[in-house]
Symmetry: C2
Subunit: 330 residues, 2 copies
């Protein structure tokens, strides 16, 4: 860590007493390193994610939402492996010192860190193009960690909530859709806002990941869209999958606003869902549903035949080629 | 982690078999999180640092050197707390896909990771302005960690090597100095190259940090210059210091090239040294010197009176105000 950046972090991000309250944090913000105590019977789960302005969020996204989402993205990775959040580091690159932006960003960040009991233990601040990197650390019993490898033919493929909301929110901000007509009444506007909230304030499915420890055979979080992310499970597990497109869960707002010709594209390829996609052996489906509740919806089955197939309501294979969001195609 | 970025990381950064060889790594690159096993009797030391193009390195710095230095900066933080390197994550933001740049960068990174037995266990790759973030994790017995707090009046202040080389290398690349005259013979050129190497390929003092566990009363690594970094020890320990400016170690190349009027500025305020600055109780100085060897040089003493004072060879206080490098002053 560097001089003054350190004061910066202290001023806006340190919450006195919070880290001290956690037994597992031996040393928090303010030294060359933070020190974390191990938790008996657990391994540390670690993930890092970078959000770049103009790429992962638009220039007009409120700082509060950027703070929330920056942490949510990393927490979603902890959720996907079934880990309990412990601590995180924030590496912030800022074009300028802007006190009000920093205060809003920190408020958004802390809203989620408080909700999920994760402690900021260190970071780095530098000047440059707006970029936010968060490294999150969680704890999970090694044998119960939810990996990408482990899916078996016959397993149910389930997701933890509605898909496509964030992608639709992005689509709706673009012409030529005439939103004014659609939003003329209060209930429509509330629905539209709920979509925007799903884009700006995703909910990492931490409780669901923890409840599925030792039950799910494989898991991943949906950041780049079901089509792209599911392929990682297929590759790691050396299996295939059939997804029933009509079973992909839609939120009320999605049902209201979407163009049905774009449904599959939005739900399978749009990205930014931050739901979990998990594989559940058939004999454990009832147990998984009891553990997670109504959020958990089966959408397909793992197959021995490799590849990803989309089925219509008659079980016929759709002739579509869907890809996940690729950060290197522009 | 995201689609394709993941393939990117695999292709250029994964060294098959290396991570598998480490018992403490339960799961390396290729899932939502990496999994690290705790080491009995140790706590995890964690640090994150970002390097931004045009700020922490110039546009013409070779990719190999950027790879080395990106890791060295974080390893230097592990050294400062006395930790043994275990694993690191790389979050890479690239303006374009450039295979030859990536290969050189990865080669520089791996040259240092192999030398220090630290394993790449995960990361993130996004498109954007060139920015490199590394989070490094090490292990240290909790009670032996070298913190910034702990310096006591009477302690010797020591550094692990010569100061000012990197700052002088930066200075020499700028006009109006006519380097052509100075570099006309082979030995001068070798000296000049050694300065440049200190800027581009800093050596994190890991072995020295580990040997000083339980001996040093306080420690920090010198990234922003002695003046700025030492202040962190003073603030954390609530003490002051007197530094004998004539005792600040110079390398042969520094002695040869420096303008003596700029000596203190370069050695105390230039930054990028990546040496350790440690405080040693008087009764343990001989032990510390035996542990670390000739690299360890006393340069001053901790005082009860707060503040940082620079003394000349007569012990008189110099009337200078030195600051460390501040990433937020441009």
């Amino acid at each position: 860590m560097h001089i003054n950046e350190f004061d910066l972090i202290r001023q806006y991000f340190d919450q006195p007493g919070l880290a001290d309250a956690a037994d597992s944090i031996a040393l928090g913000i303010g030294d060359d390193c933070a020190l974390l105590r191990p938790i008996a019977g657990h391994v540390a789960a670690i993930t890092t994610d970078t959000l770049v302005a103009g790429r992962h969020f638009s220039a007009d996204t409120p700082a509060h939402a950027i703070g929330w989402k920056s942490l949510a993205v990393s927490l979603s990775d902890l959720a996907a492996i079934g880990a309990t959040p412990q601590a995180f580091l924030l590496a912030l690159t800022l074009p300028e010192f802007n006190a009000s932006w920093l205060a809003d960003f920190a408020a958004g960040l802390h809203a989620l860190s408080n909700e999920t009991s994760i402690h900021l233990i260190g970071g780095d601040t530098t000047r440059g193009p707006l970029t936010i990197n968060i490294t999150a650390i969680g704890q999970v019993p090694e044998m119960q960690a939810l990996r990408r490898a482990g899916a078996k033919p016959g397993d149910f493929v389930c997701v933890t909530g509605a898909l496509g909301d964030a992608a639709l929110a992005l689509r709706l901000t673009k012409p030529p859709l005439s939103l004014a007509d659609d939003l003329s009444d209060a209930s429509s506007f509330a629905l539209y806002e709920s979509l925007q909230k799903r884009l700006d304030y995703p909910t990492p499915r931490l409780a669901e990941g923890i409840r599925l420890r030792g039950i799910a055979s494989a898991a991943i979080d949906l950041s780049d869209g079901l089509a792209g992310d599911l392929r990682h499970i297929l590759d790691a597990s050396n299996v295939g999958v059939e997804i029933n497109v009509d079973d992909l869960p839609m939120s009320p707002a999605f049902e209201w606003f979407h163009d049905h010709r774009q449904r599959l594209q939005l739900q399978a390829s749009g990205g930014d869902d931050y739901e979990l996609c998990v594989c559940i052996p058939p004999q454990r489906l009832a147990e998984a549903q009891a553990a997670v509740g109504h959020l958990l919806k089966p959408v397909g089955r793992i197959t021995a035949r490799t590849g990803l197939r989309w089925l219509d309501h008659n079980g016929a294979v759709l002739n579509v080629e869907l890809k996940g969001y690729d950060h290197f195609r522009s």
